[in-house]
Amino acid sequence: MTDLSQPPVSPIGQPLRRREDARFLTGAGQYTDDVVLPGQSYGVFVRSPYAHARIQSIDTSSAKAAPGVLAIFTGADLADAKVGGLPCGWLIHSQDGSPMKEPPHPVLAQGKVRHVGDQLALVVAETLLQAKDAAELVAVDYEELPAVVDVATAAGAASAVHDDVPGNVCYDWSHGDKAAVDAAFARATRVTKLEFANNRLIPNAIEPRAANAQYTRHDDSYTLWVSNQNPHVERLLMTAFVLGLPESRVRVIAPDVGGGFGSKIFLYPEETALVWASKRVGRPIKWTAERSESFLTDAHGRDHVTTAELAMNEQGDFLAMRVKTTANMGAYLSTFASSVPTILYATLLAGQYRTPAIHAQVTAVFTNTAPVDAYRGAGRPEATYVVERLVETAARDLGMSPVDIRRRNFITEFPYATPVGLTYDTGNYAAHLDRALELADVAGFAARRDKSKAAGKLRGLGYSCYIEACGLAPSNIAGALGARAGLFEAGEVRVHPTGTVTVFTGSHSHGQGHETTFAQVVAARLGIPVENVEIVHGDTGRVPFGMGTYGSRSLSVGGTAIVKAVDKVIAKGRKIAAHLLEAADSDIEFENGEFKVAGTDRKIPFGQVALTAYVPHNYPLDKLEPGLNENAFYDPTNFTYPAGSYVCEVEVDPETGRTRVDRFTAVDDFGNIVNPMIVQGQVHGGIAQGLGQAMLEGARYDPESGQLLTGSYMDYCMPRADDLPSYQVDHTVTPCTHNPLGVKGCGEAGAIGSPPAFINALTDALGVRDIAMPATPERVWRAVNR
């Protein structure tokens, strides 16, 4: 029997099972490849087998005559039709004030191909097999050119990826106070210096990219189904910058999407070509990447080389940090590529510490490799790697405990304005460090190390105290830093006459579980059952606007937009209730789903107010419109700053170099938590990706030919369950001060904090100063046998 005297338990903080899982686990999901339209035709792209070549000619005559072929398009066709190039959404300026180089990024290659996999023709046929067969008949005459492959040597290389960017430098950017940093280094008695790479990664979402484009003659409009993280952004970029169409004529639908990790943020050539071609062919055109295509053409991540230095005094106080990075843009500037090693990187170099002077200089280069752009963490893993490797190594250089050196330098007073431009609103770094030390049983490490040694194994312990900036972003700050878009979010709350609610959110769910967590937020705020709240996302035809999901922004920015819309609904509900209860608006309170007259027990439930709004018989029609439907746009006033403390413990078999992560402890401060199960899942997945980077993964191109050597899972080493231990995960809470939910975002933290924790543990085990990522068994074996 339900105890009606107790208030209902708020769904906030409940580990509710995800409602989307029912369809995902029973094969009822609808992914882009599941969409088959009447009159469906199929597209296959002809792709360059060379990293760098001039296109002397393309002969499509045999291919056009092949069975089932409807059309074949090349870059020349798009140029004739005045189709634009793919834009970059973030303008970075070099130190001399000049804007970054933005060479053309054609939808289908024109003149040259610039990486293996660069598409130069689209073949459309009745069936997929016919399209594939015809694509093999497209005869391209290439003049091979020398390939620029390695990020470290691209700047100034003789061969130019883009003819109008000789020397291959996209920009040369800097941030921070160089004079103060140089002065501090000149004075410092202790400097710790490291040089390392942040290894290139391939995103590998389980669902490959896919698109299906349909042109409709009756209203001269297009519908695009695409596996994408931000349909409104996709639409805006494609229509305004490339195809010259009014946005209102293009509907973009991102249905169920099987993971993105950033790789599906960007406007890609494939869906753009499909939309353009769908009108010319007069049939819907569908393309789904094969996995080998994904390896070649999904935007890759990371790929930096860095020299980093930390200046200290003898007691271990951090005085200054100096960082010099070369970052790979790949062959073309992808949508956010320029911002990742600059705005999303250098601004995090303070970490959790009070370092007073910081300077970073970043050179971005073009190479004949796939475009590089945001990938889970986007700049913050790279920054955290710099800071946490320097800090741990500095402790070793000074003979200090790596815990003590961190405590000594922690920021403890908030808000704190860092010397690299961000103001951390709140945090308590000692709290999660203390909890992590306890959970990781650091006290017992020495005994475990002795036991490993007795068994002939090496054991090590390493830390990572990360902070990141997410909840992108205050639009005015982003704009000042070069963003060519706003970064607000939108939400519409539609109350139905029967009291159920549909929420239209500009956020997108491709694994995050928003259909569950957003419903929890709305249900809590309206005091209605979670089952009565429906979350709609991913369709520009249904959702008014949105900037999409990336940068751990959905709950803090998207959720807040929804909260603001809910509050507007409640405000209107108060007026309706006041009328029904014959009280003044100001006497009405809303609590636990009921509007009541303050100080009395006269009340009416939300459902009754909702019905009244749509059946306005007893209603203040002279003052208030019927209906109960509100929307809100929310532009955050600051980034949010999740932070945490990770402890990694490894055991190494010195005979083979194989390393086992024995335990991994993560204590994160994400502010308030809506669904702890989903948050834990995000942390688990993020750590898997971070450990994947540190131990296993790495995209490799042949340095001469530019061929992608890691073109499949035979060679690209993805983490599997048996590579990883069960993690210990906990959290602390300092609520975000500037959004009503007090949330900070959690999607990327695991991937950000874990790589340096692992490398710190491994270098501890081996007694070496540094080891490259991925720390393959051979690398470890060579370090052991040095």
Binding site: T710, M714, D715, M718, T776, P777, W781
Partner: protein, 264 residues
Amino acid sequence: MYDFDYQRPTDAKAATAAFQGDARYLAGGQSLVQAMRLRLSSNARLVDLGAIPALRGIHAGGGSVTVGAMTPHAAVAASPEVRQAIPALAQLAGWIGDPSVRNMGTLGGSIANADPAADYPAALLALGATVQTDRRTIPAEQFFTGLYGTALLPGELVTAVSFPVPQAAGYEKYRNPASRFALVGVFVAKTAAGVRVAVTGAKSHVFRSAELEAALAASFTPEAAKAVRLPVAGMNADLHASPEYRAAMVSVMASRAVAASLAR
């Protein structure tokens, strides 16, 4: 994949008769079908051996274990006969690929394909096995001839492999972290004729290591194997391991295989 003509005979004679023109036998498909999907392999005709019961089965007796060519790895791994007579062979089969691969992949398919990183070739060579085909028997020594190369003639059908039961045997496999194939796999067998050590994954095809056999003949101990420094010449170099590392890992895997054989 490209189009092909498909035949599914129900006995071996019909299978060899069906092998006409540009044809290929289809066993478990775990290598061939993958290659076909990537359009790296294409034949006008595929002759599917999956409906030939005579090609499946495991029989022990007379000092050897005979495994039918179409016997899946999972069956070898689970077989009471193999586990009793040559447990290292059952263990090797249980380490091939993953459960899906083991349910479909076959002994005959594996050795006919002769992937340089396949596991079975090490067992055949170390145990001194004999390959039976539709027309002759081929000793393991003569069977594996090079990179994806065997002594099989076009259309020749592997029907079974006969493994002599050793006095002791062990197999250790260093899994390539990405593909989980043998980066290096070492099968050590103590037979009546002496110690035999076969190495897969390290060179273009499986080979016997004279250095390890000599060391283990003198002292059949893990330490003796571990101390052997194999020559680096001919060792594979790829993304995952240099020749020096591979050579070192051969010794390490050999020592672990010896330990495993002693522990039984």
